[in-house]
């Protein structure tokens, strides 16, 4: 998972500056602890669990992309699952059918999804809010059908395995892909974990840089008031289209990670439910904060992979109900998600400190 | 009302108003833009949360929703007329009688169509396609359909030509003479309003700065200074 807490997150409510100190000691400590935990994790858990963690990373990357589009730029997409799936299938096909090596395939998946995103972004210029949500919902529902339509390429309903040709004594045969660590010092699941952890961190760092840059501010300006942004010199159409592209590229990279982690994909992994879960991760974690989607992805992952299997069989389907209820409650009481709640409480604490300081100063004066 | 304080969210607009309207009285509240006139009416009809006392006919209006305030006998014609534009004239009138359970509704509709001939000519026309003056008359007629004892009227002259406004006020005068309904009128157009009303208050920045019989205020220097820039 990303340790972006050390690197700071988006526009934060500045805590009342304590005299003289500039280094946020608390943050540094937290980041070091988080980093240590992240490094230790794959050695503490069995392989299947570690692979689940990688799945959470894929979700986090995709949610990060969605957050860029919906949280920071205000364009609602309920269809990022389709881009996730596009990235997954692109990667799988490039590696399996065209024999590309892994990393270029991932990069290419990102580029392909960027192009698709721009293509969707163009009509999205004229379709906004609820109506854009509708269109993206339709795209997401359509995606698995498209996969099945072109089953000769995609393997249709029976799915697609990612395979690479391997030398064996019996000649070259196709074997399911395995990412082996150099020297074989780490188990495959652990190697996957670290490789994709680095990728995830890179994605989140890129996200943070985008958000903090002038481009990032123009994204937010467009979200809050398009006319005002246009008048202040922001090229609104270009911003919106590019954001769609970059957001889709991220989702595609997430899909690539998903595909490489699982080794096998089929259309049922990319139904509308996936799009919804991305949205949930973004909103629960906190839209318009860099680290929010990561927190949301972890929270969702914990919920689905850790909590839910522990429930008795009868209650398993209850988990999404709870999710649904939680979502509604969240929207009503804490629309800022987990990060939002954190910021509000931090601001309240800071306000309290400030009030106490003023009160102290005032009583000091009267003495 | 006593000590009325109200506002929008965290912005307070009214700071402690004391205001009375007696049965059958015509009272006008004058004030410039932003002085809080509309807010006052909205507070009475329950569209806003307010602090302070509002008592109507011995009954407190605290915390009542707009639809409950109507049942208490108050009708509110909002700023901008508030006609229901996708409904016809007759439908607007019919819905105006929503709180009534008696059988004279249809008769009343005819009554009002006679009282405002221009409405009578356009019974089945969509409210949204009528002129401002016609809409204003419709809005007033609709308010009267609930047979209120107090009518709240918010800036009827807004957006209307002077001749039309004068016509509206004349009709209103006739109606209130006939029905004995009290009126709390809010207006920017001081002259017309002071001709119409019996008593007046002047509101400035959320506080009452003058009050008294309308005729007196018409010649009062404070009022003239505040409004006519004299």
């Amino acid at each position: 998972m990303s340790d972006a807490t050390a690197l700071g997150d988006g526009p934060t409510a500045k805590v009342a500056p304590s005299p003289a100190r500039r280094v946020p000691v608390g943050r540094v400590v937290v980041s070091v602890v988080v980093a240590a935990v992240l490094v230790a994790l794959p050695f503490m858990f069995p392989a299947f669990r570690v692979e689940q963690f990688v799945g959470w990373m894929a979700l986090a990357i995709a949610a990060c992309g969605l957050n860029l589009l919906t949280g920071y730029n205000g364009q609602i997409s309920v269809g990022h699952g389709a881009l996730y799936g596009t990235g997954a299938y692109a990667t799988a096909l490039l590696i399996t059918d065209l024999g590309w090596p892994v990393w270029p395939s991932v990069a290419a998946a990102g580029v392909i999804c960027f192009v698709v995103g721009v293509a969707i972004g163009l009509p999205a210029l004229r379709i906004k809010g609820l109506y854009l949500a509708l269109v993206t919902l339709a795209v997401a529902t359509l995606f698995p059908l498209i996969i099945e339509q072109f089953s000769s390429i995609t393997g249709g309903g029976s799915g697609l395995s990612i395979t690479t040709p391997q030398e064996t004594p019996r000649g070259v045969i196709e074997r399911p892909i395995r990412l082996e660590s150099p020297g074989g010092s780490l188990a495959p699941d652990q190697w996957k974990y670290f490789v994709f952890l680095v990728l995830t961190v890179v994605v989140f760092v890129v996200m943070r840089n985008i958000v903090r840059s002038r481009t990032g501010r123009s994204l937010v300006a467009v979200r809050d008031n398009e006319t005002a942004a246009e008048v202040s010199g922001v090229h609104v159409a270009r911003v919106k289209i590019l954001t769609f592209g970059v957001s889709s590229a991220m989702a595609g990279i997430g899909g690539a990670v998903f595909a490489l982690n699982n080794g096998r994909i089929n259309p049922s992994s990319f139904t509308i439910v996936v799009s919804i879960y991305f949205l949930i991760a973004v909103v629960v974690g906190g839209a318009a904060s860099v680290i929010g989607p990561a927190i949301g992805a972890v929270a969702y992952g914990l919920f689905i992979d850790v909590l839910s299997p522990e429930l008795p069989e009868r209650f398993k389907p209850a988990t999404p109900v709870i999710l649904g209820v939680l979502l509604i409650l969240l929207m009503l009481f804490a629309p800022g998600g987990i990060v939002g709640m954190w910021r509000t409480s931090a601001a309240k604490r800071a306000a309290k400190r400030a009030r106490a300081a003023t009160a102290a100063a005032a009583s000091g004066d009267t003495v | 009302m006593r000590g009325l304080r109200a506002g929008y969210g965290i912005v307070e607009v009214l700071f402690g108003l004391d205001l009375d309207v007696d049965a059958g009285e015509l009272v006008v509240v004058l004030g410039a833009n932003g002085s809080g006139k509309t807010t006052t009416l909205r507070a009475v009809s329950g569209m806003l949360e307010s602090r302070g006392e509002i008592v109507f006919d011995g009954r407190s209006l605290r915390g009542l929703r707009p639809d409950q305030v109507v049942q208490a006998g108050i009708a509110h014609v909002p700023q901008g007329r508030g006609t229901i534009n996708d409904l016809t004239v007759v439908e607007n009138l019919r819905i105006g009688a929503w709180t009534r359970r008696d059988s004279e509704v249809a008769a009343d509709i005819d009554l009002w169509c006679d009282a405002f001939p221009r409405l009578g000519e356009r019974r089945d026309q969509l409210a949204g396609s009528m002129s401002g003056g016609e809409q204003q008359m419709l809005a007033i007629a609709r308010a009267f359909m609930s047979r209120p004892r107090l009518l709240l009227l918010d800036e009827p002259s807004l957006g209307l030509a002077p001749l039309v406004t004068a016509e509206v006020f004349d009709r209103l005068r006739d109606i209130t003479d006939r029905t004995g309904t009290a009126v709390l009128l809010v207006e920017q157009n001081a002259n017309l309003a002071l001709d119409f009303a019996g008593r007046a208050y002047v509101l400035e920045a959320g506080e009452i700065v003058a009050s008294g019989p309308a005729a007196q205020l018409q010649h009062d220097e404070t009022v003239q200074k505040a409004y006519l820039g004299i």
């Binding site: 389907p317 999710l323 509604i328 | 109507v70 508030g82 229901i84």
Partner: protein, 294 residues
């Protein structure tokens, strides 16, 4: 030619179902101003209620009525607890989307919780037989769907145009502030609108179940078709929902059959319709209000 007619009539029958869902969507759009992404799941849930009642031995038509009542309750409840507190869809579209998505997810899994994950069987309301006209086989079920749709549409027409309650609902839809100023209890009527919409959705679900199997994901495709219907017809037009439903139904039946490359994607024409309408004529065929306000 008979093949084409065959496909056409199937499309008409399907179109009636989409129109049913569309009617509910329009009622909700007109009263609360939002697109209810959970409409399909509400329909699915109440169809399960129909099944439960029927499974107890109640004749199917009565079970449907019972399900509609149950659906009404689900819709009204959904409005009260989830939709009303969130506020104006035009100001906070993301929150509204999330709430309807939350309802979607919640109802979907509540159904799994109560009735399990295996599909159930619901028999067709009009039986499995059919008639043959000029060499074209038309199922009673399809004819029944059209008839039921006509009844529902007529019912809505009478409600809205001829009753005081319907007048009040129209007033609320047009200007809810003024409606409350004449004494109309706006929140109660909004709740009523949602209840009606859910009840109508139940019927759509009852017609979808026999063909597709009564499962928790049953209505997800139908939802998109329903939205396509009202997008084409105009988001606030009941007539548009009916006309749009039939157009979408026919297109989705004919195109996969006759246009190469679309065999497995009945949703594609619907999707293209949605996109085209929103881009070029957002108010659809019969819509009136400004759609681009968001």
């Amino acid at each position: 030619m008979t093949d084409f007619l065959q496909v056409l009539f199937v499309g008409i029958g399907d179109g009636a179902i989409y129109a049913m869902l569309g009617l509910g969507l329009v009622v909700i759009y007109r009263s609360t101003g939002l697109l209810n992404f959970a409409q399909g799941e509400m329909a699915m849930f109440s169809t399960f209620i129909v099944w439960t009642v029927w499974d107890l031995g109640v004749p199917l038509p009565l079970a449907v009525i019972a399900g509609m009542v149950g659906g009404f309750g689900v819709g009204a409840l959904a409005h009260q607890i989830a939709v009303r507190p969130v506020g104006d869809p035009h100001e906070k579209p993301l929150a509204v989307v999330m709430v309807t998505i939350g309802l979607f997810v919640g109802l979907n899994s509540a159904a799994q919780l109560v009735w399990g994950t295996l599909d159930r069987d619901l028999p067709p309301l009009f039986g499995s037989g059919g008639i043959e006209v000029a060499g074209v086989a038309i199922a009673w079920q399809k004819i029944g769907a059209v008839i039921v749709l006509a009844v529902l549409a007529l019912g809505f027409y009478l409600l809205f145009q001829r009753t005081g309650l319907g007048l009040a609902m129209r007033a609320v839809a047009s200007n809810s502030e003024s409606a409350s100023l004449v004494g109309v209890p706006v929140p109660k009527l909004l709740m009523l609108g949602w209840g009606l919409a859910a009840a109508v959705g139940t019927v759509a679900g009852v017609f979808t179940a026999p063909g597709r199997g009564l499962g928790s994901n049953m209505m997800q495709l139908t939802l998109i078709f329903g939205f396509a219907a009202i997008t084409l017809g105009g988001f606030d037009s009941l007539l548009g929902a009916v006309v749009g439903g039939f157009v979408v139904g026919i297109a989705s039946s004919v195109v996969p059959q006759y246009v190469p490359g679309f065999e497995k994607m009945p949703l594609a024409p619907a999707f293209i319709l949605i996109l085209a309408v929103l881009l070029f004529r957002p108010e659809g065929l019969f819509g009136r209000k400004q759609v681009q306000r968001v």
